[in-house]
């Protein structure tokens, strides 16, 4: 699936729905960075809680009150150090973490005046200061002579690679795509990471050295797990979920039915967003972050009517209340309890989609109510999840999978002795950047302990 599916002007699919300037304005920072004085005032709002709930809520264990105290005292390098030591992607996480469900939801200020400390924005302020000024906070320990392969240059893989490089190991990162960054580069909504931030952050991270990058290396094609196990002292799999789920409808390949992640990747890579083909009436199938991201970004590109169709109810939706509100703020309609039934088309172009209206049963399962609803659409975005590509992973060995994901223990170790894994490809992952970074960090610590045991 690609842009070629979106070429039918007659079907209301066209570029330049908005002017270049309008689109540029629409895709500026969702949350503008704090100025120095705003940061100081916001930092003053932190109560420095004991056993801080915000830190407990952070998947990557960032000492939130600690870094805010350093912002308060103008010790920005100290603040950034506290953040990046726990989470080397602290800059990206400051931009794309669902803070409203994590640290900021835990902030005691919610009980005080229903306005949490803006932890995400403060984290961005602190990390921007070292990234923008090129202050390198990390250096490599003495060479250990150990070499480790990392598969996938997303947040999990690079987090693991960085930590291992700091510890003195030699790392080779294998990446299937042309550019590094994984979903930071190809997936996150454009208004959350402006000005090529993903690459700027990667440049900072890789600057410490010891990390060799090999792009165009895809599992099952140029590389496979067995070879890597033989060549390296350890392997970390951070390969993500490289393919998307399908609706499994008869005529799913008709023009106008598109994978959301593919479209978002194009949106992130193009330098002329106004050239992107945009539908007039868009229906998004799904209920997660990707659904919200494609819906909101379609609106920002000038789509007239955008509806998210989700088969379950509002409170079960994976996208947070905050994200749902963000969608509604951008005039995106959300249709709950509707399950895709069939695609309607004319001349092999989609024209509408019919849904079963669903009812939840007592046991949680869904049952069609017998009623239907039809939503007019010239573009249907599929955002119903992604799945692991197992080629090159499980052939001739016993890497344990469950529910299509890699099984790991609390150290992110897989069933294979020399193999660790993290990020979206592992079981029980929550698909957050911050969790992927934490996986990479924990795996690196475990790999280091394993490789240096008895040394």
């Amino acid at each position: 699936m690609n842009d070629n599916n979106l070429t039918n002007e007659a079907m209301n699919i066209k570029p330049h729905r908005l002017s270049k300037q309008e689109i540029e304005d629409n895709f500026t920072d969702l949350h503008a960075p704090l100025s120095a004085i705003e940061a100081l005032i916001e930092a003053d709002r932190c109560y420095f809680c004991y056993d801080a709930p915000c830190t407990k809520a952070c998947p990557s264990d960032i000492d939130v009150p600690g870094f805010i105290q350093s912002i308060q005292s103008d010790n920005l390098t100290g603040a950034a150090d506290k953040i990046l030591t726990e989470n080397i992607f602290g800059g990206m996480c400051a931009r794309d973490c669902p803070t409203e469900e994590l640290c900021q939801q835990a902030c005691v200020r919610n009980d005080h005046e229903e306005k949490p400390v803006e932890i995400g924005l403060l984290q961005r302020y602190a990390t921007d200061s070292v990234l923008n000024n090129g202050v390198q906070l990390f250096s490599r320990e003495e060479d250990t002579g150990k070499s480790i392969a990392v598969v996938g240059a997303g947040p999990a893989g690079i987090s693991c690679a960085h930590r291992l490089a700091v510890l003195g190991h030699k790392i080779t990162v294998y990446e299937a795509k042309d550019k590094l960054g994984g979903l930071n580069e190809y997936g996150i909504a454009a208004y959350k990471t402006t000005n090529d931030f993903a690459q700027q952050e990667l440049a900072y991270i890789l600057d410490i050295g010891g990390i060799t990058i090999k792009t165009g290396m895809q599992l099952g094609k140029q590389i496979n797990l067995e070879d890597l196990q033989q060549q390296y002292d350890a392997v970390f799999l951070g390969c993500g979920l490289a393919t998307v789920n399908q609706l499994n409808l008869d005529n799913e390949n008709i023009s106008g039915v598109i994978d959301a992640v593919e479209y978002i990747a194009n949106l992130r890579q193009t330098s002329n967003k106004d050239e992107l083909m945009v539908g007039k009436n868009i229906v998004v199938i799904g209920g997660g972050m990707t659904a919200i991201d494609i819906a909101v970004q379609s609106k920002l590109l000038g789509a007239e009517q955008v509806t998210i169709a989700y088969r379950r109810s509002k409170n079960i939706m994976a996208a947070s209340e905050y994200e749902q509100a963000l969608a509604k703020k951008h005039d995106v309609q959300i249709q709950y309890n509707v399950s895709p039934k069939r695609l309607l088309s004319a001349d092999s172009n989609v024209t509408a989609m019919e849904f079963d209206i669903m009812q939840s049963q007592n046991d949680g399962s869904l049952m069609a109510s017998g009623e239907n609803i039809t939503l007019k659409a010239d573009v249907i975005f599929k955002a119903i999840g992604q799945k692991l590509v197992t080629e090159g992973l499980i052939k001739n060995n016993s890497l344990q999978l469950k529910k299509g994901r890699i099984v790991v223990d609390e150290h992110r170790k897989t069933s294979l002795t020399k193999v660790w894994a993290g990020g979206d490809c592992v079981l029980d992952g929550n698909n957050l950047t911050v969790s992927a970074v934490q996986d990479g960090k924990l795996a690196a610590i475990s790999i280091n302990e394993t490789l240096t045991q008895g040394a």
Binding site: L40, D44, F48, C49, Y50, D51, V108, H112
Partner: protein, 433 residues
């Protein structure tokens, strides 16, 4: 509406808020603006002998600010008036003529020789001023020349200069005291002996604000070098209140009228000073930080407060809190307070716990059952120190509650209804039997 009018030593003003001698009271232009805004009186910027002094043309003021740029403390190295004596005099004469209902006091600073006082005091009085305020307080610049705080730090000089002023003045004489001393009662008693009609306090406190973190010099500097200044503003109020209260409760000086100065920013600060013994207050820094308009809230706030208290005039408030001030040795050692946390108000930040745990008596316990954070006071350890209340971000969440019966679980001793203090305590080697 309570009556805000003030009669301090026979000097009448429509309200008890005077502008203190300092930059805002430097010349007619400023004072006219202050009176238009509603200030009750002014102590004109200190007059000295001609030739007039000169000031630096660089930073004279620096503030200590919170992160949201709220001024907490303030430093000043400006000297007394840097304009000719006669120019000030003519302006004072005109201002008093234009504003007959406002108080106009001449702040003065002359050398320690009688001839200066003999010559200048009558001339100033002839301009129509309501009284004098002797500046024995400025801690910077003038003190290097044997005036200001250099006089205020030597009780004998205070007495001598006060006597000279009283000898040649027919209007009331107020002596303004420096806080840069060990015990304010010595200068206060010297004022009394010299015949002063009142004291005003405090003047500013010796201060250096900080260093310049780039150059590692003191900050600020005039060119390359700096000099200490006088510290004032909200941060100094507790120091001033203590000194005012000491004079107000001292047997010898308790009837000496006091004009309260030091960090008055709102009407509440005025209530503090007046309840602790001052008859009126003087304000400088707050005007320099916010402009003259703050007088409006000061007046309505004080008036509303007096109404709420059922008081008809400021006079009824004067000294109300003085009887509650005593020496530590007279505090009731049988009184037992325990901290009580209102769990409905608690936002679970845990500041009370960590400060008590790290720095006090380990009397606030923390439990966390699956994210349900609870902070509770352990009466077995609580000494009622009030540290938890002092750091709690929630209004009225933690309070100190007195035990009136039963046994203090910390000591195992029964609560005694009888007061007992250090003077009779068995551990006191000097106890009275």
């Amino acid at each position: 509406m309570a009556d805000l009018s003030s009669n301090f030593l026979g000097i009448k003003s429509p309200n008890p808020f005077w502008l203190a001698s300092g930059p805002p009271a430097d010349k007619a232009y400023n004072v006219n603006r202050a009176f238009e805004a509603g200030w009750g009186g002014v102590s004109w910027k200190t007059l000295g002998e001609d030739p007039h002094i000169v000031n630096v043309n660089g930073p004279r003021y620096t503030s200590m600010m919170s992160n949201d740029r709220r001024v907490i403390g303030f430093n000043n190295i400006e000297l007394i008036t840097d304009r000719p004596f006669q120019v000030n005099l003519e302006e004072m004469r005109q201002v008093k003529r234009d504003w007959p209902d406002r108080a106009l006091v001449a702040s003065v600073m002359f050398p320690m020789n009688e001839a200066s006082w003999a010559k200048l005091v009558p001339i100033i009085e002839d301009a129509g001023v309501d009284g004098f305020e002797l500046n024995f307080g400025c801690p910077h610049g003038m003190s290097e020349r044997g005036m200001g705080a250099a006089v205020g730090q030597v009780p004998e000089y205070i007495k001598q200069a006060t006597e000279w002023c009283k000898k040649y003045a027919t209007t009331p004489v107020i002596v303004k005291l420096t806080p840069n001393i060990t015990d304010v009662l010595y200068p206060a008693e010297a004022c009394l002996e010299g015949g002063a009609d009142a004291v005003s306090l405090i003047n500013t406190i010796n201060s250096i604000m900080r260093v310049d973190y780039d150059n590692l010099t003191m900050f600020p500097t005039t060119g390359d070098m700096g000099s200490h200044g006088g510290y004032c503003g909200e941060a100094v109020k507790p120091i001033a209140l203590h000194m005012v209260a000491e004079i107000a409760r001292n047997e010898k000086t308790k009837n000496l009228p006091i004009s309260g100065i030091g960090g008055v920013t709102t009407w509440k600060d005025a209530v503090d000073f007046i309840a602790l013994g001052a008859s009126n207050v003087q304000v400088c820094t707050a005007a320099m930080v916010y402009g003259f308009k703050i007088i409006e809230d000061m007046k309505t706030g004080l008036s509303n407060f007096l109404d709420e208290k059922g008081m008809n005039s400021v006079q009824e408030l004067v000294g109300k809190a003085v009887p509650s001030v005593t020496d530590w040795k007279y505090l009731n050692l049988n009184h037992i307070d325990k901290a009580v946390i209102d769990q409905d108000k608690c936002i679970k930040c845990g500041r009370c716990h960590i400060v008590c745990e790290d720095t006090s008596h380990q009397a606030i316990e923390y439990s966390n059952n699956g994210g349900d954070r609870v902070f509770t006071v352990n009466d077995d350890e609580c000494v009622g120190c009030n540290l938890c209340v002092s750091v709690c971000p929630v209004v009225d969440c933690i309070s100190m509650v007195a035990m009136t019966s039963g046994t203090d679980p910390r000591t195992g001793k029964a609560i005694s209804p009888k007061a007992s203090d250090w003077t009779t305590h068995p551990n006191n080697p000097l106890k009275v039997s």
